[in-house]
Amino acid sequence: MKDKINSMLAEAKNKIHEAASENELQNMKSAYIGKQGALSLLMKEIPALSVSLRPEMGKLLNQAKNEVKELIDKKRVELKLKASEVPPDFDCSVPGILPSQGALHPITQMCYDLNDTFRSMGFEIFEEDEITSELYAFDKLNFPPNHPARESMDTYWLEGHDSGATSEKLCLRPHLTGGSVRYMQTHKPPYRFVYPGRVYRNETTDAHHERAFFQYEALIVDKDITFTSGKVMIKSILSKVFGTDVPVRMRSGFFPFVEPGFEIDMQCQVCGGKGCSVCKHVGWIEVMPGGSPHPNVLRAAGLDPDEYTGFYVNIGLDRLVMMRYGVDDVRLFHSADLRFLKQFR
């Protein structure tokens, strides 16, 4: 009997070990320790044994039954942990569900990136109204009275406000710089602010020219500033936009409201400065004008140009976004075409 028990136990252990499903285990349970199970049936044979053997065999049998039960329970937990809730052909390559699809306009994205950068350097953000007078759009910026930009073929004048004194002539602002004068008039120096906004020029549009476009002006005015302080501002902007340190150069340029004025070029990011079709083989791309505010502009803002000076840059955001992403038509920014806008996350 002892051998029977032991061999049955060994057989059960083996089968339990190899069981692959809950069902199998259940069957085994009834096959060995159920009412009609092999071990249970052996129990019935005990009374037929000699009295001296009965206690030992009974004990042995109970131990075996318990051991089988424990093994089955243990295996059951083991199987549960191994098991999956889904069929084995579950396809994990199916794409996920897109979360809420909204996005900011790529220009806004760029603008906010720059705002964050400048705020980290202690700049304020300034905004001004889009309708301004000729006084602030041109006079205060040292544009001579006959400057071509003042003409209606360059600037959008308002009907009924397109003649008379320059303080009475109203237009959609052709640039942001006039607004900077307003800031300076109403704040105490030193100044450190950025001024994002949309400006308007009356011109024929094509892939590279727009009537409405975005500028980002940064101005710093203090007592002891050399004209090269601007390089720090420029580098901050470009490294934020392009994610790496971009070599820049400043070269001579002319704008009525700065003296001296610069054209600021950055190394072509397509060819790394070696020369390619994008940079017309010069290795540099013009990105923004800059310079020290012209003494007449500081005077217009109520500052003494002998005491104060500063540095200004004005970035075309459209152009920067175009370069960043390879957008080839500036008119797309105002198209409100979701096929375009959805590409920018």
Binding site: I125, E130, R182, D337
Partner: protein, 814 residues
């Protein structure tokens, strides 16, 4: 502007080993933007002068010939050609295999290959002038005419670039980069700048002198507009081609050679930057008078345009009337014609802004006017005249000067500027020696006197017409000559005066990010001007709307007082591609009222506010869902963006809204915006076909940001809370706000009620007419214990009983 380097070298001795790339780079960094420095000869690579030995008929084509061409070294090759003027002994331009040409001067460049033409092997191509880019230099008289180079006495096989003097570098300068530098608009000006940059000797142009005494005179009746007029009357000239060298240079500078008389005037302008003009002296009656035009006076220009002049125009006249539009274009009557034998040469100085106004008025910007409008100094007339006379004498050995006058009515004052050296050092951020500063300025033609800290600077005449006028200009000259790249970037120091906190700016950003990131809306930008179609459809009135005087298009003259017309246009445009989308825009709007300025008492600006508007468009959602989505976005916006809560009221229907589906937004007693369903009529007028559109617009200027982020912490419930849904029938006109008020209002239906939320609303089958079923989710719980199901049931029962009593609600039996 295009410049020939070999021409520049006439005036400044540039060392032969100078790196031209560096020259272009240095000019760009210090003076003007050199967009391109083209090695001109490269265009003619693979092209040689060939001599036609024999011309034979092509066996398989009537129009083609087979030429035996000597391509040098006695080598004769067959070349198939369709030219009509081929003859034996003729020198021609041959493009050998590898050369790049353009078929008939048009289209993409083509690389020449050895090939068979109609069965006959052809070595290369005998070229017409336009095929190798020389159409302007050697204009063909008729189609299929081959460029005849027989006048060029060179042996067969000579590289074409050598034969035609094309070994040159063409500098292309960005005109925009020198609008402030009238002195640079010619080869001599750039030569002067190069001389200064590299400290090289500059060739001086000797002034013209003559001892001719005659009664030839020029009157200046408008001294405000004409500072100087030099005139030379001469005989013994005729119309003939100018020498090839002159034609070649004029062509390199981007103009067309015409005839010797005209070419001299253009050449001198390209050299000195001072325009000159030649009149046929036989057509000038009496003498020349420079004056303002009489109002309505007529002038027929060289280009056959007849102008009706205004008093603001300056004209050159004789006793019969205007003969030229001063500084802009000559007249037809006195222009150079084949019969011309006597000319009057004009070398004059006209006032810049007047020339510009006239050129713009008649849309006639010319090489001359674009130079005059930069403000040329009158001293330059001397050089221009000297150079002109040098060439007149060279080209017409028989020439006789019969009259000369120099009417110089307004002498130029040279700019005088005092600069403090301490100031200069501070602004440069670098200490330069007095000698360095003086040296750099003197090279540019400035006269410098240093006395202690003061540096007295006298600008040269060619920089004194407005270009150099203040000490900052002088500083710029020093800095650019030193090289901007040689100054180190100086960091600016940060002063800690506290964190920057601009709540209004943050609020707008919070709102935009909330709409985009949380509500799934796409931000768009549209123009400030609106198309009349959308103005009429959406605003339905233009009262108080501002207008542009020269709009981008006649039907886009109104500038927006609301963001909605352009948003509706954006919806209409996107309908083709999308059937369910939401967009928003934040921008400025304008109103023709409340004119005021905070900055200048003389200024008066219209009212300008900032709005935020949105559109939810869908053809797949029902209006109820669309409405609740839009309303949900607005309802939750104040909490997520941290501004004061506004309320929905129903006071005044927006004109564009459906008669039932609309709400007004109020912050206290102030209306701050609207929302609503776009009326069917409006969306039809907007060209929207299947989309239902919910619109909203808020005045962001009126929104009030909270001082900081506000959230209220409540202790987490200690005992479980239960959601319990009840559905009851209400009168169809019952509004949710009232139901909520009965349940959760000041006297709550039960102390165990934590909240009540709207789940949905149903009408239709199984619901009696005039009724609707509303499902409400009650949150029930206690702070003291876990509630039994009886307690929960009884709380819900109290709510239902109260609704029955107060709102005449019935328990839904089905």
């Amino acid at each position: 502007m295009k410049l020939s380097l070999s021409w520049i070298k006439d005036y400044v001795k540039i060392p032969e080993d100078m790196d031209l790339k560096k020259l272009a780079y240095d000019l760009t960094m210090s003076t003007v933007e050199v967009e391109d420095a083209e090695d001109l000869a490269r265009r003619f690579d693979g092209m040689i002068v060939g001599v036609i030995d024999k011309v034979e008929q092509h066996p398989n084509a009537d129009r083609l010939r087979v030429c035996k061409v000597d391509i040098g070294g006695g080598e004769i090759r067959d070349i198939v050609c369709g030219g009509i003027n081929l003859k034996e002994g003729m020198r021609v331009a041959v493009s050998c295999p590898g050369a790049v040409v353009r078929w008939h001067g048009e289209g993409e460049p083509v690389v020449i290959k050895k090939s068979k033409l109609r069965g006959v092997e052809s070595y290369g191509m005998i070229c017409a002038s336009e095929e190798i880019g020389l159409g302007d230099l050697f204009p063909a008289a008729q189609e299929a005419e081959i460029l005849d180079l027989s006048d060029f006495d060179v042996p067969a096989g000579t590289p074409l670039a050598d034969a035609l003097d094309m070994n040159d570098v063409i500098l292309e300068i960005d005109n925009k980069s020198m609008t402030n530098r009238p002195d640079l608009w010619g080869h001599y000006g750039i030569a002067r700048e190069i001389a200064a940059l590299y400290d090289l000797p500059l060739v001086e142009l000797e002034p013209f002198q003559t001892d001719v005494a005659s009664d030839f005179k020029v009157e200046i009746d408008a001294p405000d507009r004409c500072a100087r007029y030099m005139g030379v009357e001469m005989s013994g000239v005729e119309v003939k081609p100018s020498p090839y060298k002159m034609q070649n240079r004029i062509w390199k500078a981007g103009m067309r050679p015409i005839n010797a008389l005209v070419d001299i005037t253009n050449y001198v302008m390209l050299a000195t930057g001072n325009p000159t003009h030649a009149f046929d002296a036989d057509n000038i009656t009496d003498h020349i008078v420079v004056r303002h035009a009489a109002e309505g006076e007529k002038l027929l220009l060289l280009n056959d345009n007849e102008l009706t002049l205004q008093e603001d125009d300056l004209v050159i006249t004789d006793s019969e009337g205007p003969v030229a539009l001063a500084g802009v274009m000559g007249g037809a009557k006195d222009s150079i014609l084949p019969k011309t034998r006597r000319v009057i040469l004009e070398v004059a100085n006209f006032e810049a802004t007047g020339i510009r106004r006239t050129a713009l008025r008649y849309e006639t910007r010319t090489e001359a006017s674009s130079r005059y409008e930069k403000a040329i100094d009158p001293e330059r007339c001397d050089q221009a005249l000297a150079l002109s006379m040098q060439y007149f004498k060279e080209l017409y050995p028989e020439l006789k000067v019969t009259g000369f006058c120099d009417n110089y009515v307004k002498k130029l004052e040279r700019a005088q500027i005092d600069v403090s050296l301490t100031w200069l050092e501070k602004r440069l951020g670098k200490s330069l020696t007095n000698e360095e500063i003086q040296g750099k300025l003197e090279k540019l033609g400035f006269v410098v006197q240093i006395d202690g800290d003061n540096m007295h600077v006298t600008a040269p005449t060619w920089r004194s017409t407005g270009d150099i006028s203040i000490k900052d200009d002088v500083m710029e000259e020093v800095a650019r000559m030193y090289g901007y790249d040689n100054f180190d970037a100086t960091e600016f120091t940060t002063s800690f005066t506290g964190a920057i906190n601009q709540k209004d700016k943050s609020l707008v950003r919070n709102i935009k990010e909330y709409l985009a990131f949380r509500c799934g809306m796409q931000e768009v930008y549209t123009y400030p001007w609106m198309s009349d179609t959308y103005v009429n459809a959406v605003l339905q009135s233009t009262e108080g709307v501002l207008k542009l005087s020269t709009p981008p298009a006649p039907d886009m003259s109104f500038i927006r007082s609301s963001l909605l017309p352009n948003l509706c246009e954006a919806v209409a445009k996107n309908e083709r591609y999308f059937n369910d989308f939401a967009i928003f825009e934040e921008a400025q709007v304008f109103f023709d009222k409340n004119y005021v300025s905070l900055y200048d008492p003389a200024e008066s600006l219209p009212e300008q506010r900032r709005h935020i508007g949105g559109a939810f468009a869908s053809s797949v959602k029902n209006i109820n869902t669309l409405f609740r989505e839009a309303k949900g976005v607005l309802e939750h916006m104040p909490r997520y963006t941290h501004m004061e809560e506004y309320l929905f009221r129903k006071e005044e229907k927006p004109v564009w809204a459906d008669s039932h589906v609309w709400l007004n937004l109020y912050l206290g007693d102030q209306k701050i915006g609207d929302m609503g369903l776009m009326a069917k009529k409006v969306s039809m007028e907007c060209g929207i076909k299947n989309l239902s559109v919910m619109l909203f617009e808020l005045d962001t200027t009126l929104l009030k940001p909270l001082r900081s982020r506000t959230n209220h912490f409540t202790h987490l419930a200690e005992y479980p809370e239960t959601d319990y849904d009840i559905s009851m029938l209400f009168d169809v006109n019952t509004v949710w706000h009232d139901i909520y008020d009965v349940i959760m209002g000041r006297k709550k239906a039960s102390a165990l009620l934590k909240d009540a939320a709207f789940v949905d609303e149903y009408r239709g089958k199984q619901i009696p007419a005039g009724k609707k079923s509303v499902t409400i989710r009650l949150t029930i719980g206690s702070d003291e214990k876990t509630l039994t199901s009886q307690e929960i049931e009884s709380t819900a029962g109290q709510v239902m009983k109260k609704l029955e009593k107060r709102m005449n609600a019935e328990l839904r039996t089905q």
